[in-house]
Subunit: 119 residues, 2 copies
């Protein structure tokens, strides 16, 4: 059992939209990711998804509004809700979601990551 | 759907060892808690537990070692592992654990909270 130092893990990767697994508990993954630009619209039919902003500003576009999430704020996107993360500048986030969650949900795209690295 | 501003939630309570529910996803609770002093030794037979330190320093005593967790670091304590959180000064933490998790695990004490408030 070892603690995880988030800042050290964030130094280990630079690619955007490619979550890395940094912890697992109760069938859930704790992931770190860096976002920049616009992701694809998608939803997760069976999984709620949590975005905790560590650095930067994340805009979560929903079909009816946009929620701006700053450092030390989080948003839980319920299952079945279409959403699109947008980051004008680089943002670092921590994600909590079931181990089964695919990053692009029901929208297969070039951004889809079927296999995630653990770091 | 609304974002959660962690700093604002932390202002809403001051009692120690009394986790507050600030989010729920996939059967898991996101909780905020403030610790100060020594908790009781306990374990959770069926639940892994995650401690993310937001402010202060948390010492997690295990039977064979102590892990010191600083701000922006986290520790996952696996199910069945005896542990005791200790905070010499006030520490604020975010917890992730199944909705079924009892704060003192298998050790009933004055510190046991059977019902948690949502804030």
């Amino acid at each position: 059992m070892e603690k995880v130092v988030i800042a050290e893990k964030l130094k280990l990767f630079s690619e955007y939209w490619s979550p890395k697994i940094v912890g697992e508990l109760n069938g859930q993954h704790v992931k770190l990711a860096k976002f920049r630009g616009e992701f694809v619209w998608h939803k997760h039919d069976d999984e709620d998804e949590m975005f905790l902003v560590l650095e930067g500003v994340l805009k979560m576009e929903l079909r009816d509004k946009t929620i701006v999430i700053h450092k030390n704020e989080f948003l839980i996107v319920p299952k079945g809700t279409e959403h699109r993360p947008v980051a004008e500048n680089e943002v670092s986030v921590m994600l909590f979601e079931p181990a089964t969650t695919l990053n692009t949900g029901d929208t297969e795209s070039d951004l889809t990551k079927h296999v995630l690295d653990s770091i």
